[in-house]
């Protein structure tokens, strides 16, 4: 994996099959993830008002998701 440049931010991605809607990611990444009406994460792009929560918060979210459904990667 190449390092991300400032203009090409690494983001979190969700393994939708593994995700069961615990919502831990949304509380750890309040700027970039909100939950939909059924409790599943919506990853907000900057255009949608998403704000960078920082590398540490992202790493924590990846680590703490009970379903291990979060992983690092550039959005497609």
């Amino acid at each position: 994996m190449t390092a991300s440049s400032p203009t090409d931010r690494a983001a979190v991605r969700v393994d939708r099959v593994a995700c069961t809607g615990h919502g831990v990611c949304a509380s750890l990444l309040p700027g970039s993830i909100r939950l939909d009406e059924w409790g599943y994460p919506v990853v907000l792009t900057p255009a949608e008002g998403g704000v960078d929560d920082g590398d540490q918060a992202r790493a924590a979210a990846v680590r703490l998701c009970p379903a291990m459904a979060l992983y690092a990667g550039r959005p497609s």
Binding site: R16, A18, D36, W38, V42, Y71
Partner: protein, 368 residues
């Protein structure tokens, strides 16, 4: 010139729906010594061209598949289909997929080929390089190509890239198959190419876009076009882009002018709701919700809020599943809202224009 160069020159792209460069896919397949699964499932609603290729061009298909996958080739078809029977009769290694909509999706077939269920997998990276499913089970490098695409591979090798490029458009070269069905007198497979007017393709199936209902291009994962739009559109990426559509899997379904398109689409969305693989929250809850929203619109109740809710939900499910199934249904729903907005207004005021059907008989159909 080697195979990849030939394919690159020909400009062949996938005929299964995604239209990805076949040369790129084959190069990666060879690089990773990937196994090949031939997708002959006709998984899209109304699709018939994979069966056609297997029935009429099997030898060429096998040649193309062997060039790509060597000895590691399996031929996927839906269980119980005529295609499956033909492939077995030919002594080929058959991958029998359950007759579910998402089971013929690329990653579903890869999962099934490796002993898993025929349900889509999260694609962290292309499976041509191998990977793992969400449980952590290792997946060997595998590539999936559509049956028609592999037949075209054999044709390019036999006749050359120039022959291939002689048909179609510079950006979308080569012959293409399209399955035409619905309110036409001779439904079936039409041999055509990009740039041909859609009205001519439908006419070849003895249908008439001057007298039909709206047209669904691309099946459940496609878009609805009004009759007038379809009658004027060329069969090409550029030609269909204004409507949010693509040539994609090569399926055209012409609706009956005397039947209510809202009721017809309600059936499609209900079907979609029941075809979720049940792995991703937005899909397994979102698609039934979209189907319910459409029924509410069809029933004429609170059209503006129901419309807003439907639009919000179609945007919400898009891109939030492991596969593109919810995206496809969302696209069909959005296009249907656009094309049928007048018709839905009629429903809201208590009558339905198509065939002057009374609303009460609608409700009976919808309620079933």
């Amino acid at each position: 010139m080697n195979l990849v160069e030939l394919l690159d020159q020909s400009g062949l792209t996938g005929r299964g729906g995604a239209a990805f460069s076949t040369a790129t896919k084959v190069r990666a397949a060879h690089e990773h010594r990937a196994a090949l699964v031939v997708n002959a499932c006709d998984g899209e609603i109304g699709a018939v061209k994979d069966a056609y290729v297997v029935e009429h061009h099997l030898a060429a298909l096998v040649r193309g598949a062997t060039l790509v996958g060597g000895r590691r080739v399996r031929y996927a078809a839906h269980r119980g289909s005529a295609t499956e029977a033909r492939l077995r009769a030919a002594g080929l290694d058959v991958l029998s997929a359950p007759a579910r909509y998402v089971s013929s999706e690329e990653t579903s077939l890869i999962s099934l080929a490796q002993g898993g269920l025929a349900r889509p997998m999260t694609k962290r990276q292309p499976f041509v390089m191998g990977g793992a499913d969400s449980e952590g089970r290792r997946i060997r490098p595998t590539v999936v190509l559509n049956a028609e695409t592999l037949w075209r591979v054999a044709q390019v090798v036999e006749h050359g890239p120039h022959w291939f490029r002689a048909q179609g458009l510079p950006k979308e070269p080569g012959p293409r198959l399209v399955g035409v069905g619905g309110a036409v007198s001779r439904p079936g497979v039409i041999a055509t190419s990009a740039g041909i007017p859609l009205r001519d393709i439908v006419a070849a199936a003895e249908g008439d876009l001057d007298r039909s209902g709206p047209v669904i291009v691309g099946g459940l994962g496609g878009v609805l076009l009004s009759r007038a739009e379809a009658a004027a559109a060329p069969w090409s990426t550029e030609g269909l882009r204004p409507f949010g559509g693509r040539p994609g899997p090569g399926v055209v379904h012409v609706l009956d002018p005397d039947a209510c398109p809202v009721v017809e689409l309600a059936r499609w969305f209900d079907h979609a709701a029941g075809e979720s693989a049940g792995q991703c929250g937005p899909c397994m809850f979102g698609l039934p919700a979209i189907a319910a929203d459409w029924r509410e619109l069809a029933a004429g109740a609170s059209p503006a809020p129901a419309r807003q809710r439907l639009l919000r939900r179609t945007a919400s499910v898009t891109g939030r599943g492991a596969c593109r199934f919810p995206d496809g249904v969302a696209g069909l729903a959005t296009s249907a809202l656009r094309v049928l907005s007048d018709h839905l207004a009629d429903h809201a005021s208590g009558h339905c224009a198509a065939g002057q059907t009374s609303r009460s008989s609608h409700d009976r159909v919808l309620a079933h």
